[in-house]
Symmetry: C2
Subunit: 186 residues, 2 copies
DNA sequence: AAGTCCATGTAACCAGTTACATGATTGC
DNA sequence: GCAATCATGTAACTGGTTACATGGACTT
């Protein structure tokens, strides 16, 4: 099945949430491991409930707002998630549009390439910083006991660190290519 | 438009190729920046030709095989590619299924997580090695003049290095999480 | 007065994947 | 005898994106 459902289950395994909350969390810049739109979320939540992996209860919020549906995970849901996690994964090929463009760098004037690289570098540096800040927050939230692998925050930290090192490495790579371009032409 | 067309154009900007060749190159483990299936390629090539970005000439290969269509780029195609390359890009969010699973690590027994991490580490290490080897080949092929940004191989090297550092960083991250898991439990 | 935030959903479209189809040759 | 390689394509399905739809309160 589509990984979207597991993205939803992954968050709901930690705390009950509404569809809206789920979208916020999944698309937040700090933990964007699986961006998802509302229109995918709501039908998927309904399907998951049909299958007995979730259940919801309605919550009347401030009078004028539509009634919220707060979803929470069932035991069956937790088991289904565990099973999926244990399945082996093929590493994803990173389909990076920017790399595809860089592959055509030889068609451009050096200044054009340099401009693109600076732009991309800035974007990734920004993301790296967002990860760093979020990591600090989570570490503070977790307290001194950072070794406890039963704590969901332990897992959060591992994932944030992955994102952070990815973004940092991207910045380093941009700098590397920029230096290659600079060192040429006497 | 879909980036598939630009993946095709990117390769055809360097040399004439058949649909089959294109699939081979795009899916080769060494340069998998945009894996594509045949069924996407053939219709897309036809469309690109209609638009005047490509042209093909038939080549009778060994008698028993279907006649090849060797596509090559037109001036208009090259221009369209250049234009696309110059458009700004949003960095892609990496949708890594494994990270999504690691996010649920707290649901697993440590040995289970460790197993998964070792598996993933091995796959990425293998890929890193493939990139390294490919990089050496391309460097040899390019000769001493590695600074010439007009040489398509200069661009190839930049992209291969991106893939290589990505895979290496992934391995480092796996080791990092493994060390966190090992250091716990007295 | 315009735009954003909460909170839900539906409909239409497009891209990408899986499966199906053909066919002789070369290597194991 | 079986699988892989070259070489092309079509059909059906599915997952994801874009656009549409509603609606009151709060901020600028």
């Amino acid at each position: 099945m589509s990984p979207v459902r597991y993205a939803l289950l992954s968050l709901l395994a930690r705390e009950p949430l509404t569809g809206y909350d789920l979208a916020q969390l999944l698309n937040a810049r700090i933990a964007p491991f699986w961006p998802v739109r509302y229109n995918q979320i709501y039908p998927e939540l309904a399907r998951l409930e049909e299958e007995g992996l979730l259940k919801h209860h309605a919550v009347e919020s401030t009078s004028y707002r539509p009634t919220k549906k707060v979803y929470e995970m069932t035991a069956a849901g937790r088991e289904a998630l565990r099973e999926w996690v244990l399945l082996p994964v093929e590493p994803t090929v990173m389909r990076d549009e920017f790399l595809l463009k860089i592959y055509n760098l030889w068609l451009l004037e050096p200044e054009e390439t340099i401009h693109q690289l600076h732009e991309q570098r800035a974007l990734h540096a920004e993301r790296a910083k967002a990860y760093e800040e979020h990591l600090e927050e989570v570490k503070i939230q977790m307290g001194p006991n950072t070794q406890n692998h039963r704590d969901p925050l332990f897992a959060s930290i591992a994932v944030i660190e992955a994102g952070m090192t990815y973004e940092r490495q991207y910045v380093v790579w941009c700098d590397h290519v920029l230096s290659l371009l600079a060192s040429e032409v006497p």
